[in-house]
């Protein structure tokens, strides 16, 4: 058991994200579909967490709190996946290798358990980042 684990992060599309996005990005469905990190049970074990524990994911540009879940599509140890969208983009490095495309996949993140912290909603994250968040909680 360790305090932290370093994994290789990818952020890609999933059908759960697609359906929820079309329903609306402020819906609970979108929140549940996208504020999760999929990681191999071995890595969870190494981190000393059960599934469905909240974790803080930190990259070179920032951090976000998401819920660690077992992969719906098999992820090998060492690889982690946050479905594309608001939570993923809190940690995606904007460096483009001069191509225009950010490093959406293949960047190192540190993951640590934060069982007592809450995930933020999509609006809170995005509006909060630009100083427009006025909501409670």
């Amino acid at each position: 058991m360790t305090e932290k684990i370093v994994l290789n992060m990818i952020t890609q599309r999933s059908i759960e994200e697609g359906v929820a996005m079309e329903k609306g990005k402020t819906t609970p469905e979108y929140f549940e579909a996208c504020s999760v990190v999929e990681m191999n049970p071995e890595d969870m074990k190494a981190l000393g967490i059960w599934r469905n524990t909240n974790v803080r994911v930190t990259s070179e540009v920032g951090s976000v709190i998401v819920k660690a879940i077992e992969p719906t599509q098999y992820c090998p140890p060492g690889l982690a996946h946050i479905r594309q969208g608001v939570w993923a983009n809190q940690v995606v490095p904007p460096r483009t290798q001069s191509t225009g495309v950010p490093q959406y996949s293949g960047f190192p993140v540190t993951i640590e358990p934060v069982p007592s912290e809450k995930r933020k909603g999509a609006l809170e994250l995005v509006q909060g980042a630009v100083g427009l968040w006025r909501g409670g909680k």
């Binding site: 290789n8 990818i10 920032g62 969208g85 904007p94």
Partner: protein, 457 residues
């Protein structure tokens, strides 16, 4: 009596299915039922019928709240923002029709803006590779009718293009492929065992970020040379087996996705995929295709290529020329260098899909969202202009992932008073002409929707 509208196009993914059937209420206003669509397409149509659709533009007030304004006011605001900015960026277009992409060309040229589309953060590297190496490809019907080997590299159609395998690539029975799936070998190359990988005959679980090496290994063995015992996490025997299947195809197909373009190597991954396709054409017939994400994200690449000669990252601020240099004129790079001083988000959601640092930079300046729905971008904008949903409330041409134009239908009317993207851009253009006291120039061939009725007559 509710009526069925048939042959409806689906405004979701790049598969651009055009076989949906929609049950519409008696008064032609509400969508009751959606047939043939995937789960996501289904949601698009039902969401359009939602009672909380916005009907008027909203302008952010000093206290941070939104207040409804008229379309005229929104048009005026947008025109003035574009004129005032030295280098406005107009970005998006994954989810609108080609008519809007054509109309915005005129606006961007007149106001001296940068035009960019979602390819900039998706298949932009594929364009870079195509510039260098070409694009031996085909329409999806060729895959359906001929393909006996299909490779999915760094893409997961079972999630991102849910009907792709059933309509085009794996399951359908075609003219030379009467046995459907039984006649096709399917290879998946992905660092995860995705739903697509589970469906495949062979799954090579490539080490994430090492695609280039694996492509290179394929090229090497196909040219008769030896490779190390393991490449990119894949055993030599597995590579030889897959290469053997690929070589023995009559008609082979390589589909690739964000797994190649979003990670290290980017355009180089696609470049070598194209080279592999070229190599394979010396022993069999092979094509390659980018799995484009949105139903009309191929559209701006087409429309702007015929108007400006470039598919994306088009800097029109010089006035006399169009200039393209991805890395310099691409949206994320422009944002991160803080080089644009106004931002229009149209037919996409940069608020959710740009890295948050890029969003923060863009938000320092006037920020306008044009979108039928509430999204992240709309909720941080200065102005949100709701528009009709293309493919549901507005007809138009869209380009499928294989660049085949599909003429999408209109199924129901938009909420009363809500205008289309195309109408909005034409009105902004006319307003810019008024403000600059210049004559609008129309190409007469667009006369159907383009007569400058408010100006000049």
């Amino acid at each position: 009596m509710p009526k069925i509208v048939t042959d409806v196009g689906c405004p979701y993914c790049g598969a651009s299915c055009d076989d949906l059937e929609i049950l519409v209420s008696d008064d032609g206003k509400k969508i009751l039922e959606v047939y043939n669509a995937c789960a996501i397409g289904n949601e698009v149509f039902h969401h359009a019928s939602s009672p909380d659709r916005l009907k008027r533009p909203r302008l952010r007030q000093p206290d941070g709240t939104y207040q409804e304004i008229s379309y005229d006011e929104a048009v005026d605001y947008t025109a003035k923002v574009l004129l005032k900015a030295k280098k406005p960026l107009i970005y998006g277009f994954g989810s609108t029709n080609c008519e809007a992409m054509s109309a915005v060309g005129r606006v961007a040229e007149k106001s001296g803006a940068v035009l960019d589309n979602c390819a900039s953060i998706c298949h932009g590297p594929s364009f870079l590779a195509i510039f260098d190496n070409g694009y031996p490809s085909c329409t999806l019907g060729e895959v359906k009718n001929r393909a006996d080997v299909v490779v999915f590299w760094g893409c997961n159609p079972m999630h991102a293009h849910p009907r792709h395998t059933s309509r085009y690539s794996i399951f359908p029975r075609g003219f030379f492929t009467e046995k459907g799936q039984r006649q096709r070998k399917m290879i998946s190359i992905d660092p995860r065992e995705t739903e697509t990988a589970k469906l495949a005959d062979i799954h090579l679980m490539v080490q994430q970020g090492h695609d280039y090496e694996l492509f290179d290994a394929f090229r090497t063995v196909l040219r008769g040379h030896d490779i190390p015992d393991e490449v990119a996490g894949i055993r030599k025997e597995a590579i030889l087996e897959a290469a053997g299947i690929m070589k023995n195809a009559r008609f082979g197909m390589i589909f690739f996705g964000m797994g190649c373009t979003h990670t290290d190597g980017r355009n180089h991954n696609v470049d070598i995929a194209i080279s592999l396709t070229r190599d394979l054409n010396t022993v069999a017939k092979y094509s390659i295709m980018a799995m484009r994400g949105h139903y009309n994200i191929a559209g701006p690449g087409q429309v702007w290529s015929w108007q400006f000669g470039f598919p994306y990252c088009i800097d029109l601020t010089k006035g006399t020329h169009a200039h393209m240099n991805p890395g310099e004129t691409s949206s994320i790079d422009l944002a991160m260098r803080d080089e644009v001083d106004a931002f229009i988000n149209i037919g996409t959601d940069a608020g959710a899909h740009f890295p948050i640092d890029a969003v923060k930079h863009l938000r320092k300046h006037p920020f306008i969202t044009i979108d039928p729905n509430i999204c992240m971008a709309s909720e941080i904008s200065d102005l949100h202009i709701p528009v009709a949903v293309v493919g549901v409330e507005e007809a138009g041409v869209v380009y499928r992932m294989d660049n085949v134009p599909i003429q999408f239908k209109k199924v129901v009317d938009p909420p009363e008073g809500v205008i289309s993207d195309e109408q909005l851009f034409d009105r902004v253009y006319l307003r810019i002409c008024e403000l600059t006291e210049t004559e609008p120039t129309w190409i007469p061939a667009k006369g159907h929707a383009k007569a400058p009725v408010t100006a000049g007559q």
